[in-house]
């Protein structure tokens, strides 16, 4: 089909080949078709699936790991939130719970394991040592794991109780459910994309003491 270009005659309609051949695909067609991205339609159900099947990687480094094990145990039961499967392979994990102090010799190992995890991936910095070095303000310990990997939720405590870790985990679930990208704070995510709901993490009720 030949393309008709506007000549001297003003107001002549521009016709494209596709208008005649495939009306259903044209943007100007009269068909009742809405074009959209599949990811937009699936955003909600994907987030729902993701937040309820977060598989953590085994990454216990110190005494925090004992509390992490208790969290996944029968009494506190992280399985209630869909995170009971601690994976020994980073390739099957979505979440890295950095439980303990990271030495500078461990830092490249931690980063490599993080890089081996498939996207999207999240990080919980559990306890004072992983968050800021804790009592180990010395030459051997990384002063906060956020110097190596982007962190989603920090947990205070030395070590944090299982309730604190569960609170952090539910906060992370809220982030995932709201569609906030990994490693981005809720406020920044809302400022960049107003369609993302503004999460007020401070309003989440603290765990009972």
């Amino acid at each position: 089909m030949e393309l008709v270009t506007p000549g001297d005659d003003e107001g002549q309609k521009i016709l494209y080949a596709s208008d005649h051949l495939f009306p259903a695909q044209g943007k100007t067609s009269g068909f009742g078709v809405i074009t959209t991205k599949l990811s937009e339609v699936l955003k909600k159900p994907v987030s729902l699936a993701r937040k309820n099947s977060v598989w953590p990687a085994l990454f216990g480094l110190a005494c925090c790991a004992i509390e992490m094990m208790a969290t996944s145990g029968s009494r506190f039961d992280l399985a209630r939130f869909g995170a009971e499967v601690f994976r020994a392979s980073p390739r099957q994990a979505d979440l890295m719970i950095v439980a303990g102090r990271v030495s500078i010799k461990m830092a490249p190992v931690l980063r490599q394991i993080y890089d081996q995890m498939p996207d999207p991936k999240w990080v919980i910095s559990m306890g004072a040592c992983a968050s800021c070095g804790g009592v180990f303000n010395n030459y051997a310990i990384v002063q906060g794991v956020d110097k190596i990997v982007p962190v989603d939720v920090y947990v205070a405590g030395c070590p944090p109780t299982p309730e604190a870790l569960i609170t952090a985990f539910t906060m992370l679930q809220d982030k995932i459910g709201a569609g906030i990208p990994p490693g981005v704070s809720p406020a920044v995510a809302h400022a960049q994309d107003p369609s993302i709901v503004k999460l007020d993490m401070a309003s989440i009720a603290p765990y009972p003491t």
Binding site: N138, Y139, Q143
Partner: protein, 161 residues
């Protein structure tokens, strides 16, 4: 229960040791049933060999102490054990910065990693060691952090601070 005094056999060994290393002997100390012998660094391996042949068959520990303001600066010490008599003995020498000590690896292969640790953390060099390289800290680390003049938070501009 250990007794407050050392046995006659140990005392005899102590005097035998004193005679054998007359000019290289620095002193001995008997405290709470524990015997400590000091030798010059030049006699370090020879002294360990004599004690080994006297029945102290096991090298229990080998480490160092940094007395920053003292001259010479470091103590290098080995804790020897006799499995036959169930007794321990402490052998010490004094070295200054950059002064090497003879390796005890020819006598006990177990001295290998102890001496690597002392080299790693104190920077004391051991001659005749089969592979003196860092054991605890990363291979590209600079400095020896258990020295008393090493800054606790690492040198300025350290990574991950």
């Amino acid at each position: 229960m250990s007794t407050a005094t050392i046995s006659d056999e140990m005392r005899a060994l102590s005097s035998k040791f004193t005679e054998a290393f007359a000019e290289n002997f620095l002193g001995s100390r008997e405290d709470r049933g524990e015997l400590t012998l000091w030798v010059m660094p030049s006699a370090w391996r020879e002294a360990a060999k004599l004690l080994m042949e006297a029945g102290f068959n096991h090298l229990s520990d080998l480490t160092a102490v940094d007395y920053l303001d003292r001259e010479p600066r470091f103590d290098v010490m080995a804790i020897l054990a006799s499995h036959k008599t169930c007794t321990y003995l402490r052998l010490k020498t004094v070295v200054d910065d950059q002064q090497p000590v003879d390796s005890l690896t020819p006598l006990w292969v177990g001295a290998n990693w102890f001496e690597r640790e002392v080299w790693d953390l104190f920077g004391i060099h051991f001659t005749d060691h089969p592979g003196l390289k860092r054991i605890l800290l990363p291979a590209d680390y600079t400095g020896h952090p258990l020295r008393k003049d090493y800054p606790i938070t690492g040198p300025a501009g350290s990574v991950f601070r």
